[in-house]
Symmetry: C5
Subunit: 336 residues, 5 copies
């Protein structure tokens, strides 16, 4: 392992973000891909942790050969269109996790594929996802935990993935809160409804991505695979708990969103009723003087009122009185 | 245990609400945190019960050391953003319970974290929750039950937590009842709909908090942990039952609320239909005389009616008759 | 057992509806509460059946002492706010059943608590419920079944409780049927909607009460308790079946009710559409002659039509023709 | 068994549709009820198959005695108000199946009760159901299957019952299809909504009847009762599959029906919007000339326009132009 | 097996798309149906793969005889109206899969029935489905996998079937996206609602077909049948995953569709409210001058305004001012 020739290997290609071997005491040593076989040759309790970002086929083929990965898992890792799942292939695990990240004010989803074996951990990131460098750094500060094997690295990665959902869910909450205020406010703009719809879509896609993550974590926690020691399972249980919380919040938001749509509809209907009432009220208010003026527009020869000296003044008073009383009445019954 | 030096320890900090040791016969003796190790040194059937309120890190670290608590549980106890859960760490249990309290006419939720070991019970309150002093006092009046160990104290705390939900649920019931009356009543104010929405939100948050409490209690009742003796489980079953009842009531209220929203919408629509009908009725009532007066406003030279001596009087009678008959008819068909 | 002193005991208080001992051959003998201990002293295959109605504390305490009932069960039996459940305490069962009765045209719910032991059956009625005297009488006519022990008495009581639900459910069905007719009928009164809401509430409360009854019965049927012999379980299975049927009917009614509300809303909307159409139709019918009369009300000096000898007659004909044709057209396109 | 006295028994009453013994080789021989005990006396692999239609009590009591049927099963068979279920009584099965038949263009439901024992099969039809004669005839053409015992007869009966649902479900499908066409078509008659409601009710009752049939069949297929040999279970699995298909179709129809109701509501709302738009359009079209004519009906002394020689002709042209332009505009923006 | 007489058999009928024997080394040899018995006579690790398209009865009978297929399975294979299922008959499996294909811009569903035995694989296509020739060709390029037996062929067929769903689901997604744009756009045509309904129907039928496919695949993956070796199960797990993904997408689309319908309804209601508001606004704008002109149409003898030299000019100015101010006001409060 301390072979000086290790540094003689060609440097790792760009898609290899990280490639290191962790000794039994938790210390780290960077190696090249070609040095892996030498490391694996001696079972001294160390393990290899490789981080890839959208690797090309040759890298994956190389790793398949080194670690004896299954054809199907490698095929899945090539094409990033899997739903979160965990699958056992002999004494190794293949895991697909869904990642989320806000890119240019939009939520972009990615996938991380993980190969976990007794002496290796390979993470393959596809599409939108934050780097796992902080997770790795955090883990390296706990060498006694790293001594538990590669599954503790898996925990760190999954913990980072689920934690990345939290700010997005918080953003959803804030969006709904703002929408609720707009709904209850006076203006009923079309935009409120379309924003509700957009939020619903976002939440639905979120749910499709996070809900199976919960299954994956639950399977890991309950699995009896020797790859994941009891102590690490306690940590994974914690991640499972966070994912349950994320799911719960998404479900609550979806539920409230449906009610918000109904409430908006109810308030719009009510506001329209007010419009119709006002329309009716003003029509009534104008109909009365119109009938009166129309009445005295008749051309009967014998209409004594028309000839009175003060008829017109009386009429003005009468119309004013009728309109005034009607206005007061309509105000009282709240039709104006 | 009767070490006179016990009183020599520094006094407990303010966040330690209570710290006592309960002897096998149920008698209580207050101690300082520093005296705990002395108590635990002799396994004489006694146990320590500590009540904390939003403790600082040093206290938690001290307790972790004294009782050998797990890192993850302590980490959870620091940050109060857990959902209700019960988790086994070796031969101890870590439990998160959701508490609710009405603070300034609003429902505030808090968390209580409990560490239960063979010889200790630690409760850590965060945020809104009533004191557990009454629960503790009640338990101290039953020394034979306390002799069952710290789990009976756990029962008392959980019982108090679930009982604190009851007045809130009763308040929800009263709110819905009041809303129902308003819905069926005559006025259709916007406020009804927004109050329905507020209640829906309150119920949804309540459900998110109480539903997992039911799971927690159910797990405790069905668990085979030696920490919770058979006899105490009968008592926990009772608390479980209360939590089921709370959940059931919340679900019923949510269900009725949805229907209430539909019914309100239906009644508003119907009321608007009445408005339109009335609008149409009055329009018809006024259209008839308007047409007549407009008719006799025509300027044809040869309109014999205009010249008759009693034409105008006849017209007045005719208009009165038309309006009267139309009014009667519209009243009959309920358009007025 | 045939102790002549038995009659020397003080008479039973009023809340003790019934207190009898059933011998192995099914024959019955009334006893006082104080005679119970004598009966239990000899295990001759007989059992005691006590029926209480809202007993005071002293009676319950006495029974607790006689039969060795658990504190928690006695506490539950005091306060009648339990949901249906069945709980094992050592070799006895405590059971809470929900009862329903129509009191003054309203459905009132009550509770019956049952203590079942190897040699005793205690039923405690709270609130609205019919007497179990008929059930007891029926059972007494089947001495060979009574020989199976107190659980057959339990069957008789549960059978009576579930059967009491049937007329209420039938009433619900009739109410929905009447509402359906009103919905499809012509009048759209507010009362229909509020009656739908009332029915929904009744059904919801019914469901909260009956659904857990099904669980209770199901647990009894599947339990392996020696208190309920195989043969009696066949009878309880029959009661379970009835409770399933009640639940099913309630669910169907709730489902249909939701649809009825939607249908009512749809028909009201449609009827309003008809009103608006009629309103528009009549407005159009009147607008035409109004425009014509307004036209000839103009004061142009040179309007040749105004001066013709038969102008007015022609106008009358023209207006009649326009209105007639318009009326025919509007009738044809169903706007009138 | 070949006892010549067999024919000496009194003839079977009318409610006994069929009573025959099937020998081990599948051959059939009609017998009277009184001859049953003779047949059962020799266990030669034969079995008795009795078909009853709404039998009176004496017949059922006779059969109970002959086959040793359980009291509860007989009680159920008397009163035809059971939900589909299968119950084991010792080494016999009691089964309730729900039957459906179109009677006078309405769906009528009935019940068939089946007693299955090692050497007998009794079917009791209540209410609407088609005769099982065809099923029996079909079975008799397969003597090698009949040799499997009475359970193959049970299969034939259940197969017939489930197949009788198929034309009804097909009819439901056709009804929904017709309704869909009407909904999308132009007319929005009240009848569409009420027919949707009727279909919903029919489907709901259908579901209540067929869904537990699926459970019954599933229990039979998965049961380990020696009464139903492995080979017959393959056939029952086929019937189960048909019942699943019926249930699935009913669920799909219910789902589509709900959407159809929403869509109808949406289209009605939209059509009403069109009516309102047209109403507004025509009102606008008429308001313009009315304002103009009203204008020139004013009695100002100095209105130069009134005195012009060609004023009236110009006015006619102006009104025509205004109306024409307005009409073109309103057509363009689709308000007419 | 290398019998030269094999070629002497009559050629296969048209409904036999393919009939070949695969040797243990994966090499293929076409044979006629009549040669099957010769092949099966020697158990040399080879298996027969037959592809049929809507075969007539004689072919199925022949295969039943050759492979000893069960009557019920053959009966199912005749009539293509089965739901997806997998059934074990002795040491063989019978499987029904649902296939989908776009035919003339409509989705047509078909069925594929599969008989899987230790040494044979028979696929029977009914109705719409793409040929399995590509699947077969792909498999033949992997002779080491074919050596696993006929179940690998089954995998290839099921993989092809599920993959054929993907473009249809993608099309659904595109349709919903287009509808969403139309809904949010300005025009509210009836066609949008009917297209939503059509999509809902398509999705519902899709779901009925694909959901049980998932069960079928899940049963295969979890089954312990020796017909499907462990290695092949890994491949079937991959197909299962694809089917889960298809189902999930269909469910998401159905969910969004429901919301889209609500949103469309909300936007239509809102747009109608705008129409009513505009109607009311224009009515108010015209009512004012109409009242004024009607006023000065009155025939009072003493109306000083009528006689003023500039009265008419003033009136014109007044009307213009009123209309202008009203217009400005109505614009401001957004009623115009």
């Amino acid at each position: 392992m301390d072979d000086p020739a290790a540094t003689a290997h060609p440097p790792n290609p760009a898609c290899v973000v990280n490639c290191a071997v962790y000794a039994k005491d938790g210390t780290r040593r960077n190696i090249t891909l070609d040095a892996i076989s030498e490391v694996l040759a001696h079972d001294d309790g160390s393990f290899v942790w490789i981080g890839l970002y959208e690797p090309d086929d040759t890298i994956l083929e190389k790793l398949q050969e080194e670690f004896g990965l299954h054809d199907l898992a490698i095929e899945d890792a090539h094409t990033a269109h899997q739903r979160p799942k965990v699958e056992a292939y002999g004494n190794s695990l293949f895991l697909v996790a869904s990642t989320a990240q806000v890119v240019e004010q939009k939520i972009a989803y990615g996938e991380t594929h993980v190969f976990l074996g007794p002496r290796y951990l390979v993470t393959v990131r596809h599409g939108a996802s934050l780097s796992y460098a902080p997770a790795r750094a955090r883990v390296e500060r706990e060498p006694d935990m790293l001594a538990l094997g590669p599954s503790y690295g898996l925990y760190a990665v999954l913990d980072a993935i689920v934690d990345d959902y939290l700010p997005i869910v918080a953003e959803f909450k804030a969006t709904l809160l703002a929408l609720e205020k707009d709904i209850i406010g006076e203006s009923f703009e079309r935009a409120i409804v379309t924003r509700l719809y957009d939020l619903k879509r976002e939440l639905t896609y979120m749910r499709v991505n996070v809900a199976p993550m919960q299954d994956v974590l639950s399977q890991l926690v309950r699995s009896s695979s020797p790859l994941v020691p009891e102590e690490v399972r306690l940590y994974l249980r914690d991640v499972l708990d966070h994912s349950v919380r994320v799911n719960e919040t998404v479900d609550v938001l979806r539920d409230m969103l449906g009610t918000a749509l109904s409430v908006n509809q109810a308030l719009v209907t009510q506001a329209q009723g007010e419009v119709v009432k006002k329309l009716a009220g003003w029509a009534a208010l104008l109909a009365a003087p119109t009938l009166i003026t129309s009445w005295y527009g008749m051309n009967f020869v014998h209409m004594p009122e028309l000839h009175g000296r003060y008829s017109y003044v009386v009429l003005i008073g009468a119309v004013a009185a009728v309109v005034g009383l009607l206005y007061a009445y309509l105000k009282k019954v709240r039709w104006l």
